[in-house]
């Protein structure tokens, strides 16, 4: 039972990150009716940007020393009296990494926003009004372009990136076994869920969000109501790429950076379809379900089986409910 709780918590933490990635796909779909097959590669770019700004740049000879490791006097003084491996030590380590974490996150956010903007402007906008198939296939072509570009730019071996938050271990007893969690995973989960909630609130309540929803409903009506549809499109893409940057940074600290981060996007795509393309709630449910199911599979069948869980789950759900758990059924006229 204790093991079950451990794996369930791991699953929920993975699910929160899935949800954060999925929100990017849903936002783009809601505004532009394009399903972004290359979203995983946007995340990969986010991860690589985080790596660039938090590891490569601080390690340059021209970078100021405090950027790599911030050691003010009070920090050194406090560190000196601490025993080894204490939670406080982890926090202090984090504090000295703080400058480069902040630089990494801001850099990744801005750079990824620019990438998203470029993709929207150069590839997506000329296709406005074209068939959905063409738009989807453009994102498929984007997969090759992005993964090729990434391996051209970042040829260096990816080193470890700093955690976003103190990685003190958290232990507690449940059902007679010790549950062991990493503090940073918990913070990541909270961060992911907060961002998810913020985006849902943005789309629901703000003027910009209402414009996105109106565009999703009917493009030409939105136009005639004075909404700038191209602006809505680029806003949606920037939203997706910035959430992707944060998700990428989180994934970089969890799984390390590699070109296979792009493949992650496909399992998230499966999750999005499972939840229903235009439903944030459905996607959240699907992400959590898949996260927990994956953890359970990992526990019972071994790690390798876990990687096909999203795909099997999406096939089952699609046969049972063709538009996902909470997706809206399309009405077709002949």
């Amino acid at each position: 039972m204790g093991q079950f709780v451990q794996f369930a918590i791991n699953g929920v933490m993975a699910g929160a990150i899935y949800a954060l990635i999925a929100v990017g796909i849903v936002s783009v779909y809601k505004a532009t009716k394009v399903v972004n097959f290359a979203h995983g590669y946007l995340i990969m770019f986010g991860a690589y940007f985080y790596f660039t700004f938090s590891v490569i740049i601080p390690n340059q000879p021209w970078a100021p020393e405090w950027l790599l490791s911030w050691q003010p006097d009070w920090l050194v003084a406090q560190k000196a009296d601490l025993p080894m491996f204490s939670p406080m030590g982890a926090v202090l380590d984090w504090v000295s990494n703080l400058p480069r974490i902040v630089l990494g996150l801001t850099g990744a956010l801005i750079a990824n926003a620019i990438v998203g903007r470029i993709i929207e402007r150069v590839l997506m906008r000329p296709l406005m009004g074209q068939s959905v198939f063409a738009m989807i296939m453009v994102t498929v072509g984007l997969i090759s372009i992005m993964s090729g570009t990434a391996s051209l730019i970042w040829t260096a071996d990816a080193a470890n990136v700093p955690f976003l938050s103190p990685s003190a271990p958290v232990k507690f007893e449940a059902f007679g076994t010790t549950i062991f969690l990493l503090g940073t995973d918990l913070v990541n989960m909270v961060l992911a869920l907060l961002m998810f909630a913020a985006i849902v609130a943005f789309v629901k309540f703000t003027k910009g969000g209402i414009a996105i929803r109106a565009t999703a409903e009917d493009q030409s009506t939105a136009y005639s109501m004075g909404i700038s549809v191209p602006k809505v499109f680029s806003r949606a893409w920037v939203l997706a790429s910035t959430t992707g940057a944060i998700a990428g940074a989180i994934l970089a600290t969890r799984n390390g950076i590699s070109p296979s981060l792009g493949l992650f996007g496909f399992s998230v795509l499966a999750i999005v379809l499972m939840g229903g393309l235009d439903s944030y709630v459905g996607v959240l449910i699907a992400a959590m379900t898949v996260g927990v199911l994956e953890a359970m599979t990992q526990w019972k069948l071994g790690g390798s089986w876990a990687e096909i869980v999203p795909y099997v789950a999406v096939l089952i759900v699609l046969i049972w409910r063709p538009h996902g758990l909470m997706g809206q059924k399309e009405v077709e006229r002949i």
């Binding site: 496909f266 096909i308 795909y311 099997v312 096939l315 063709p322 077709e332």
Partner: protein
């Protein structure tokens, strides 16, 4: 110049090659292919064989995506099933079936198995369409490759390290050179292309096109969606299975990673670049998809020489070129090369009276 294209009977109008140009083209290509088989150098044979194998698979995708309008991003899985089943069948039936007739059993088995699994994967197509189907097939691709790599089936599939394949043996004639293999691939590829061209003028083919244009309308006209969508899936999977079987015969070893998503995307990209729903589309598309990376390789090695540090940039460049091709065709020429060729032919046909 417009010249005689007069038909005296319905039978003449309904022929597979319904005008003299097409006939001349097909007979001419037969001669060219025969000459090519005997006189091309080994490198060209290698490239042309890869094109032939890919062509058969793309013709399959064309039936599904181009004619029936169902998008699949998972047909690499069927190529894998064809390749693996032809090899595993030969391994298991060794001794039971004499080696000289093995391909006559192994290849139909591989094609049939691929078609069967195609029907299985096609089942969601009855309920979901477009994008949802694309993701469902994508999921199927991941699952098939995963099962091939899985330790449980390793005694048969060889797991991650793949399988050593057999050279095909027709009544004692072992096709152990690439040139002989190309002969077989060319014959089969040619027949496959003609069969697909024939298919679309039959009742089944017309039903496919009706479903593509509007599936509900087609259903109202009395076309059974269940039957024809599954037929389409089975046919396209069978083509891909055939391509897989040839691929297993052609290469000395098959690895699961050959059949991953990249292959599926390659197949669809070739179709889009060539032109969807046109019989020559796959041919043009495959030529581009195989030649462009090859061209980059040649140009690149002549530009930087043999330096190893520069060589690591080659694969990314090929990848980028491939993506750019796909995107550019979608943006600038969504109907593919076939449309460009059509335009040229039309201009030639009307010359000197009108242009374009």
């Amino acid at each position: 110049m417009i010249n005689a294209n007069l038909k005296n009977s319905y039978a003449a109008d309904e022929r597979v090659l319904n005008n003299t140009y097409k006939q001349m083209f097909v007979y001419g290509m037969m001669i060219v292919l025969a000459l090519f088989t005997f006189f091309a150098n080994d490198y060209m044979i290698l490239i042309a064989s890869q094109m032939g194998i890919l062509l058969i698979a793309v013709v399959g995708i064309n039936i599904l995506t181009g004619y029936t309008g169902l998008v699949s991003l998972g047909h690499g899985a069927f190529v894998a099933i064809g390749a693996y089943s032809v090899t595993i069948f030969a391994n298991l039936a060794e001794g039971i079936i004499p080696a000289g007739v093995m391909p006559f059993f192994a290849m139909p088995f591989a094609v049939a198995l691929a078609a069967l699994i195609g029907v299985l994967v096609g089942l969601p197509s009855l309920r979901v369409k477009g994008l949802y189907l694309a993701v469902a097939t994508l999921a199927a691709n991941f699952i098939v490759i995963f099962l091939i790599e899985e330790d449980l089936f390793q005694p048969w599939t060889g797991g991650m390290v793949g399988l050593t394949t057999h050279a095909p043996n027709f009544f004692g004639w072992v096709l152990d050179t690439k040139r002989e293999m190309f002969g077989m691939i060319a014959v089969i590829g040619f027949l496959a292309l003609l069969a697909a061209q024939n298919l679309i003028r039959t009742r089944i083919g017309r039903a496919f096109i009706a479903i593509r244009d509007r599936d509900y309308s087609a259903e109202i006209l009395g076309i059974s969606l269940l039957r024809y969508k599954l037929t389409s899936f089975a046919l396209s999977a069978a083509y891909c299975g055939l391509a897989g079987a040839l691929l297993a015969y052609f290469f000395a070893r098959i690895l699961p990673e050959q059949f991953e998503l990249t292959l599926s995307l390659n197949l669809v990209a070739a179709l889009i670049i060539g032109g969807m729903g046109r019989s020559m589309g796959p041919v043009f598309g495959v030529i581009i998809v195989v030649l462009v990376p090859e061209l980059i390789k040649v140009l690149f090695s002549s530009a930087v020489g043999g330096s190893a540090s520069a060589a690591q940039f080659r694969a990314p460049l090929q990848e980028i070129a491939f993506g750019l091709l796909l995107v550019l065709f979608l943006l600038k020429e969504p109907l593919g090369i076939n449309q460009i060729v059509d335009r040229i032919l039309r201009a030639a046909n009307r010359w000197p009276f009108a242009r374009g």
